[in-house]
């Protein structure tokens, strides 16, 4: 069986690789892989037929990256839950006293529940909004702080 895999930079392999060579390409038990017939990307250790390749401790042969145009595999993004950027929302809410951080938290709170309910596109859309509102909150507070300092300087208070 030949598998596509996701390398350490997060990119999908250009061509499928025979399962006996997967570890030589740096595939670990936690690497996401996909082959014909699978509905979605899975971590290698969740596929029983691949287990035998991860018990061998022998030194690995070095191989060139696979070449080709793999266009059959589903998009890798479908395997990984989008980040909710909750840290951004919480941080800006606590520090900046701006309503934008709260908007970010509201969107962030929807990401996981939508994702696990199977609404992957909606989860991704909410992730984007959580990120953008979080950044908006951060940038706004920087701008306001900058203006405040400008006012202080122009008033001759510094």
């Amino acid at each position: 069986m030949k598998y596509y895999f996701i390398d350490q930079q997060g990119n999908q392999s250009a061509a499928p690789v025979d399962e006996t060579l997967l570890t030589a390409y740096g595939v670990t038990p936690k690497t996401f892989v996909w082959c014909e017939g699978m509905t979605d990307w899975k971590q290698a250790d969740s596929i029983p037929s691949l287990a035998i390749y991860f018990t061998d401790k022998a030194p690995l042969p070095t191989v060139e990256p696979p070449v080709g145009t793999g266009r059959h595999a589903p998009s890798y993004n479908s395997a990984v839950k989008p980040d909710s950027y909750l840290w951004l929302g919480i941080l800006t809410t606590i520090l900046c006293c701006l309503p934008f951080g709260i908007v970010s938290i509201v969107y962030a709170s929807k990401v996981d529940s939508l994702w696990f309910a199977g609404y992957h596109d909606e989860a991704r859309a909410n992730s984007e909004k959580a990120k953008n509102w979080g950044i908006a909150a951060f940038v706004t507070s920087l701008v306001v702080g900058f203006i405040y300092i400008c006012i202080l300087i122009s008033a001759g208070n510094l």
Binding site: Q8, L86, T93, I94, F116
Partner: protein
């Protein structure tokens, strides 16, 4: 913005340096007596307290070992500190099935909605009660 493991390490290290620097500044300077600290523009404009007003003074008090003085500056820290800690920990966990389960248990959608509701309730209550 999917970070590779190496970039995630760099980002985490940078954040750690910034956090240590900020903690050092807030420990050595009193935000109340120095004009170099950022002001809450909501408070400057309206004279009312925002939900986070008092956090800088509270951080200074906390770093000097006065938790009660910190809470006197902003009682909402009782809610904000635990949720900030939970967010920080779940964000730093590596992405896998176990961490996803921990994250959805520790930070639920309902929990966040309650936090948002408490945030606005605190905003109103502190200005009425003057705390």
């Amino acid at each position: 913005m999917k970070l590779s493991p190496r970039h995630k390490t760099i980002a985490t290290a940078t954040m750690a340096v910034i956090i240590v620097a900020v903690l050092y500044i807030y420990a050595s300077e009193d935000p109340e007596s120095s004009r170099w600290f950022p002001r809450c523009f909501f408070h400057e404009l309206t004279g009312l307290q925002c939900p986070s007003c008092g956090n800088q003074r509270a951080l200074h008090a906390l770093l000097h070992g006065h938790p009660c003085a910190a809470l006197a500056n902003n009682l909402f820290l009782i809610v904000m500190i635990p949720i900030a800690a939970a967010t920080a920990i779940t964000t730093l966990l590596p992405y896998n099935a176990l961490s996803l389960k921990i994250k959805s248990t520790v930070i639920s959608r309902r929990g966040l909605m309650i936090f948002v509701a408490l945030y606005f309730a605190w905003w109103i209550i502190r200005n009425i009660a003057g705390i």
